[in-house]
Point group: C2
Chain length 290, copies 2
């Protein structure tokens, strides 16, 4: 546990809880370490059945004023954001008064790409007396470790593709371009911008089906890495069983992510699905797959 997480371990941990299973993995890990948790479940995203198993409050996007009040009432100082959010249309969000007052700053943050947006929101929280922690700071077990985590190994060819992918991501990162790329035989097949990894992998599957990808079936890797200036506290790349499914559908050899800087959801299912599909899953060091 980091010094920051340990320092306020007497106050309950607030988990702003999006979709997927990760929020509960984080909650369980914190509880196992003897920390109380309160889930602030985002309506339309969080899994209501599982949320009910923990102390919780429901809220909606755009209600910073209400959230702030609930956090103080619950005695929370440390806040973790975790889980997926489908970004609603701006005009569909019902902002509360406090949020509206902050709007000029939020709008400024929105203009500068995802990196700026997220660190802008983080600063707003911190200036209101809260401390934003990365989910991995309170639950390091959700991070991908170094090395191959299933039973399928990387070939030399895969390693070169991973290196090429990491090199591209290093070059593109300063331009705030996505966290993922598909490389085969040293050739970049697809780059993720705002469409998301799932959309990019579907494109690779499609290009493969239409014969636009010359690389043989079972070659090529998905490489994910955080952007260089990314705020690692609440925007790490992540993989889960669905990623393995999509990579299998795109007929790639495997998945490489940066060890210690990538969140893995449902690791047992990831390993089972990858072994089943003959796909490798590896945590690598930035700058090299070796």
């Amino acid at each position: 546990m980091s010094a920051a997480a340990a320092g306020a371990a007497d106050s309950p941990l607030a988990i702003i809880c999006g979709s997927g299973t990760l929020p509960f993995a984080v909650a369980d890990a914190a509880i196992k370490r003897g920390r109380k948790v309160v889930l602030f479940a985002v309506r339309g995203a969080a899994d209501a059945v599982r949320v009910a198993g923990y102390p919780h409050q429901w809220g909606a996007l755009g209600q910073f004023g209400r959230l702030q009040r609930l956090l103080r009432e619950a005695g929370c100082r440390d806040v973790v954001f975790i889980g997926g959010l489908v970004r609603p249309g701006f005009w569909q969000i019902r902002f509360d008064l406090k949020t509206l007052l902050l709007m000029p700053r939020i709008a400024r943050a929105f203009r500068g790409g995802d990196n700026h947006l997220l660190s802008g929101l983080a600063r707003i929280f911190e200036q209101h007396g809260f401390r934003l922690l990365g989910a991995h700071e309170v639950a390091p077990e959700i991070l991908v470790p170094e090395g191959v985590i299933g039973s399928v190994a990387m070939t030399e060819r895969d390693r070169s593709d991973v290196d090429a992918g990491l090199a591209y991501l290093r070059a593109a990162g300063p331009h705030d371009v996505g966290q993922a790329v598909v490389v085969s035989g040293g050739h970049v097949l697809a780059v993720e911008a705002i469409e998301g990894t799932d959309h990019m992998l579907a494109r690779v599957a499609e290009l493969r089906a239409s014969g636009r990808i010359r690389a043989p079936v079972g070659s090529g890797v998905l490489v994910k890495a955080p952007k260089p200036q990314q705020d690692r506290r609440f925007d790490l790349p992540s993989i889960g069983p669905q990623t393995v499914e999509e990579v299998a559908r795109a007929k790639l050899a495997g998945i490489a992510v940066v060890a210690g800087e990538t969140i893995i959801a449902e690791p047992q299912q990831v390993i089972a699905a990858a072994d089943d599909a003959g796909i490798f899953v590896a945590g690598v060091r930035t700058g090299s797959a070796r």
Copy 2:
């Protein structure tokens, strides 16, 4: 006209002729300059009705031996590749003997990404005594000039987006990643890898329709630039009336390409369509849109 093109102007110019109208624009420009031309029309790609208006031969991909013989019979030394080709599946190509003998070198070229493929094929032609010229060397009028070419001007915001797009393309180029990007408000919305500009623009239209793009309708630019190490003789980026249509469908503000390094097909139709849709089309200097 370049020195190379002038030096062999006594021999007929061979135009390897893919799809679209560009091959005929190049042929007409060469004829206007007093040069004889022979079209080598690629079956399944070239427009048969228009090909019939010029001295021509038909051939298929993979028939380098036959092509070489026909080029020599026609007395051609200078060769220009122009027009689109749908890349067939490797196993669908019927290679002739000469091509099969060159196969190890072609396969080596195939492995290294598009840049390597094209310069590999260029070297093969040159080692057989032919000279590969860029279409723009024999027909400079097919290049986009500097400045706005329609009646719609760029705003300051568009100029910043163009600069951001050029900066990203400069960073990504050494990794042999596509020639095109869509930027809005300084934010990279989509990056072209092997899917092609049309596919990328369709994706932007889709992301816009599903509300994943927050930028207002009518903002954002398509930026195209050659890769730094690209062989400019036969792989310049190009735009045409279809590009304008796709940019309009993606609800962007306009198109910026590198002046003097981008081919424009059917410029009159491009200008008419762009003016009609309220889209700017501009040739800019690399490194800056100003």
